[in-house]
């Protein structure tokens, strides 16, 4: 890795960017300006090399082989689990970290295993208006089967959760599902406070860390939540793997999720005995190369330092909000909190009356990649009164020049649509 000093004051983005092959591409004759890391991040050569090295020297199926490379594959796979667990401060990483396909599967896993055993007709689940579909639809599916009530924590016009009535809202609830950081508004939610109130009411807290874990230092103990789900592909890791952290005592109590190899101790014609956690939740051959890649991603992020990354993204977001407002005034509306300290580097905006699809299309002509759409948060879109937004999102490899390019391209968009 390029020399990066995790204790220094500033991220050396120019150097670090060289680690990301895709970021040196040209798009439509312009150097790429990748502002869609909230959808999926790019990966550094360190991650790609680690996966390749594993594939070329060590690949075998895990957990079942006695021979050398299978042992080594198993060792590396389980080491990745512990490495990832430590990255989020899991007290007991070898038991508390479950590998799944993506964050979405993790949340479904919780809905199916905890939900099906702990929720009963008439029970209440509390969600927030800013949840991603991944933390809504699993509960709706369960609600439809079991006649649960869903309650919603509202947001205010600045994109903060309205928590004044939290005690009443969670009163009698069994579970509170809440995102650590909104993928649309950027809002960082006060997880500890929500968890304390929820726990006092006897509810568990299912946290969606898909947007926060890649961008903020994370410690599950200080968050105070019961489970946390996130995806490797948003944190400079590969596609095909997501992570669920869950408290040991909570996971230990749950029935299996999917059935098959790996998750059993014994299978007889008349039934099966499930394995211990975390394997109980990992039916079939896991994403092995992907776990190796995620381990390398975590090493990469740790090597730079999550504190430094966070500081960089606050500075960049502050700059971007100021520069956009300065240039476009009332022509731009940025959703969510005004202060970068209260949010992640995700800027959803409306620009004049140009539809987000059209904005994104024109920006692409200038090599600028932003997402347009509902961002899998349709209830939030309805609350905001829009069908879609355009969204620029930052990662450690973005800097002010990316913001400047975005602004120039937005200007051209305005001109195009007259």
């Amino acid at each position: 890795m390029a020399e990066l000093n995790g204790t220094g004051a500033e991220l050396d983005v120019a150097t670090l960017r060289k680690d990301f092959p895709l970021l040196s591409l040209e798009v439509n004759g312009h150097p790429i300006t990748y502002l869609d890391s909230a959808a999926s991040s790019q990966r550094p050569v360190q991650v790609l090399d680690a996966m390749r090295e594993y594939d070329e020297t060590t690949h075998a199926n895990v957990h079942r082989g006695v021979y050398g490379i299978a042992e080594e594959a198993t060792r590396r796979f389980e080491a990745a689990r512990i490495n990832v667990g430590r990255f989020v401060g899991a007290p007991n990483p070898s038991r508390e970290i479950v590998f799944a396909k993506n964050a979405t599967e993790c949340l479904n896993l919780v809905a199916r295993t905890w939900g099906s055993t702990h929720l009963h007709a008439g029970d209440t689940v509390v969600l927030t208006e800013m949840e991603h579909h991944a933390n809504i639809v699993p509960w709706q599916m369960l609600a439809a089967e079991q006649e649960l009530n869903l309650r919603w924590i509202p947001i205010d016009d600045d994109g903060h959760l309205v928590l004044d009535d939290l005690e009443q809202l969670v009163d009698g609830a069994k579970l509170v599902g809440v995102t650590c950081m909104s993928n649309v508004l950027g809002t960082l939610n006060p997880m500890r406070h929500i968890a304390d109130v929820a726990h006092a009411a006897g509810a568990i807290v299912v946290a969606d860390g898909a947007q926060s874990v890649p961008h903020l230092p994370t410690d599950v103990t200080s968050l105070g939540v019961d489970v946390l789900a996130f995806s490797a592909h948003k944190m400079v890791g590969p596609t095909g793997i997501g992570v669920l952290w869950g408290r040991d005592e909570l996971l230990s109590d749950l029935p299996p999720f999917l059935g098959g190899g790996e998750m059993i101790l014994d299978v007889r014609k008349d039934g099966f005995t499930p394995n211990d956690i975390p394997w109980r939740f990992e039916a079939g051959t896991p994403p092995i190369t992907e776990a190796i890649g995620l381990g390398a991603a975590v090493d990469y992020l740790r090597g730079i330092g999550m504190e430094l990354i966070r500081a960089h993204e606050i500075a960049l977001t502050t700059y971007a909000m100021a520069a956009l407002h300065e240039r476009f005034g009332d022509d731009i509306h940025i959703f969510g909190p005004k202060d970068a300290v209260e949010r992640g580097g995700v800027l959803s905006f409306a620009f004049r009356d140009v539809h987000p699809h059209d904005i994104s299309q024109i920006l692409d002509q200038y090599g600028v990649c932003v997402r347009a759409g509902h961002h899998c948060a349709k209830p939030l879109m309805r609350r905001l009164g829009v069908n879609a937004t355009a969204r620029a999102s930052f990662a450690l490899y973005n800097d002010k020049s990316d913001v400047d390019t975005l602004i120039e391209a937005l200007d051209a968009t305005g001109a195009f649509f007259g």
Binding site: H355, P356, H357, D358, Q365, N387, A388
Partner: protein, 165 residues
């Protein structure tokens, strides 16, 4: 790389800025159908009246991007007053134009996108499309195809519901 002028033809921008047949017919008697573009959240509401085998009236509501809005507007202008059989034919032709054959895909064997199903595409009579042919360039931007076809799929559903084929 196709350029913006392939996508945003003047006539498209015109229909986007001044959409024809905007609004909703009273329903009933009109048939009311909603369409979603799951990718972006765009919604379209087509209300139509079929009298004596003819699409006697049609209105378009909802909101979306320039492509979905102009496509809906162009569609409404093209089908209003036409017999259902002709409209069905037009839908077929339009969706044919919106399939990816012969465009950006290197080869059929390399695979294709979901809209590209038939292994032997039928030739399309672009002439028959009139002004709608302006949307031809959309096919070079595969993600926008769903924008262009949204209203057409919604119309097709409406026809099926109002008089099953």
């Amino acid at each position: 790389m196709p350029g913006l002028e392939d996508l945003y033809r003047e006539i498209i921008l015109d229909h986007y800025r001044s959409p024809r047949n905007r609004g909703e017919l009273e329903s009933p008697p009109a048939q009311r159908v909603e369409g979603f573009n799951p990718l972006c959240g765009d919604e379209i509401v087509v209300t139509l009246e079929v009298t004596g085998g003819v699409v006697s009236d049609i209105k378009i509501a909802g909101s979306g991007c320039s492509i979905s809005q102009s496509s809906a507007s162009l569609m409404s202008a093209a089908v209003k007053g036409r017999p259902v059989t002709e409209v069905r034919e037009l839908i077929r032709t339009f969706k044919g134009m919106m399939s990816i054959h012969g465009s950006t895909l290197p080869s059929a064997d390399d695979g294709s996108t979901p809209d590209d199903e038939a292994s032997e595409p039928e030739p399309i009579d672009i002439e028959a499309l009139g002004e709608l042919a302006a949307l031809q360039g959309v096919v070079k931007f595969p993600v926008r195809i769903k924008c262009a076809t949204l209203s057409w799929n919604t119309l097709a559903q409406g026809l099926d519901e109002s008089e099953p084929a």
